[in-house]
Symmetry: none
Subunit: 213 residues, 4 copies
């Protein structure tokens, strides 16, 4: 009984979070009304208040949860990259593709959009979550690039800078093209950004000086 009830409670908690992420991401904080969230989650409105206190509390919980999820994905993607690849260019393109996919696809897009749009409304919350995530991501990426430099595949003085610039080169254009998360991205834009971004990155940081294509 207790287990069942607990389970049910956890289920509702999760259902509310999922519903809220969906609605918040689509409509923004101000335009989200809790009636809609409650209906989508299949609970009554006061239940939301029981679980999360108020609307802002629900939003914070949504952001924290979804950010953790997104962060874990990114860490996995970076970890899966070889430090001694047979084909460096291909390896970097795969990595870049995966990173962009984490940022732009499905839950990643929703998470990013929330952070971006509501940054002014919840400055502290959003700063903390975003900076934390970004810093961790860049640190992991810098670490991986440093290893590639150590193994001679790249020539880096400043791996942190290389990480930031690789991210910028491959993700900036998709970000803009998606309306900063408002629309689905055009895959062709992603492909071009990745290909050309890695190309330029290698032209600047590759093993031997070579002009970009």
């Amino acid at each position: 009984m207790v287990a069942a009830e607990t389970t049910r409670r956890v289920d509702k908690h999760r259902a509310i979070l999922d519903a809220a992420l969906d609605v918040f991401a689509r409509q923004g904080y101000a335009d989200t009304n809790l009636d809609e969230v409650a209906e989508l989650a299949g609970v009554a409105k006061p239940t939301i208040y029981n679980h999360f206190g108020d609307k802002a509390g629900l939003f914070a919980a949504v952001v924290e949860t979804s950010s953790q999820d997104a962060n874990k994905q990114v860490a996995d993607v970076i970890a899966a990259t070889s430090t001694d690849p047979a084909d460096l260019r291909a390896e970097l393109e795969t990595l870049a593709h995966s990173l962009v996919h984490c940022l732009q696809g499905g839950a990643g897009s929703a998470t990013m959009r929330l952070q971006l749009v509501e940054g002014a409304r919840f400055p502290e919350l959003i700063s903390r979550v975003r900076d934390g995530n970004r810093d961790r991501t860049l640190d992991l990426l810098a670490g991986k690039l440093a290893q590639l430099s150590a193994t001679g595949h790249l020539r880096l003085r400043d791996p942190g800078r290389a990480a930031r610039q690789l991210m910028a080169l491959v993700s900036d254009e998709p970000l803009v093209n998606s309306g900063f998360g408002a629309r689905p991205v055009d895959p062709a834009v992603v492909d071009r950004a990745v290909t050309e971004g890695v190309d330029t990155f290698l032209a600047a940081f590759g093993p031997e000086p070579a002009p970009a294509t």
Copy 2:
């Protein structure tokens, strides 16, 4: 007499636009109430309706106007760049600084934030304005870079790509650092992004192949 009438009407029109840009940018569309705009503009609320029809119409006018302003600034900045500079690196850094300043400073920041935050609410309006502006900016920049390539200062196969990547390299980090327009940018971040971005750009596209610093 007619001039006086016209002037007064135009003054109120402008005052409303200015006030609305301020409030919209700070609070977003949904959280902006027209009472506040009216008070800030020094007009009565119905005057807003006389001029702009409704809240959405006011928003559209604000976005169009401020985008045009921002666009003109950017065009001036690009036009002011020499096509045969004594010091290429310095010239590009100056250009990059100015561009970032246009995007992030004052009205530029507000404009960007509006476009970004309300992209989901007014997809058509925002797409049109943003894509138009971005395309024009990138075209101008690509043209300038092509000239630099023609004069031998750069070696570019695809000036459009070079323009996109230069923008990405110098503006991505300030964008993120500002919370996408929600907070003032840290000048140090801008300086670093510009210096390092131009450095990498030159490493990839400079006259002779040279590794990034």
Copy 3:
């Protein structure tokens, strides 16, 4: 010049009255906004205020004017009825048709609807106008019926009562059918009401006692 200006002023006055009758009748007093009236009349809104003081004053002017018009029509119709007709039934049916037409057709309908709908809002104005008109109409009709009685075509003790009942018999059904002036009347309903109403009237007040058909 003076004549021309005077004429123009009179024209505007009339145009406003016509436009206002139209809009008031269609939408009622509360739902009529003076912008619509002004546009329909081709004048600026303050001109209405110059001519009629305020919205209520305009309404009063409309009601008085249109009532006088309607009243004149009714008087003409009754006056045109023969006091010694060859075919009494036909003469009464013609009279009845004309009366119903005055009440239900075009301006008559608008006038009636105004009086009816706004009776609670302007009790004094409407009472005065309506009672005056109705009394005058019934008096004229009673006089005509009394003449028909004097010439032996009818047998009436109380011409006033006969007038009221004739009006009731022929106009009640069309009134209801038109939604009390809200919709155009079905001509078939008018025809039936007139035929049957006159028939019953003659059965009760005709020269010799005869049952209704």
Copy 4:
């Protein structure tokens, strides 16, 4: 428990309907503001929206409800009329008095005024309700008159026509006198209309041909 909840909800529902009938009838749809209704009903304004959706929904509910009530009263009155009365004239006068009372007294007056005044604003709703009620009333009345004809108290070829004309004869004058529901009716006018109306009706449709008094 459930009963208590239900009761409270039903109570509020009813209280809102009653208050709204009162205010709508007095002021018309456009001039009724829901604050007033809410205060009169002793509820908060949003409660009205919970129950009836919006102002028009409330109006529709009021009209439907009050029309049903009025209709039931009329049916009762007609059913209570004897089909083989000792004194036909007295029986008809009693019936007519009751009918006029249903139409003009208290809730009847309010109902009629609503239907009449808002016929142009809610044509479909009002048509449906009014025509339905009127048709049912006239059918019932025609049935009763047909029975009186079958028992030899009247001589009718067309009971439907007789019903319409009896209604017209006894109710037209009170209707006009009340300003179509805007003012209380003068009882003397009702008495006269009933007496004279029944008299004329009997002169036309009574057992033997006899002139009206």
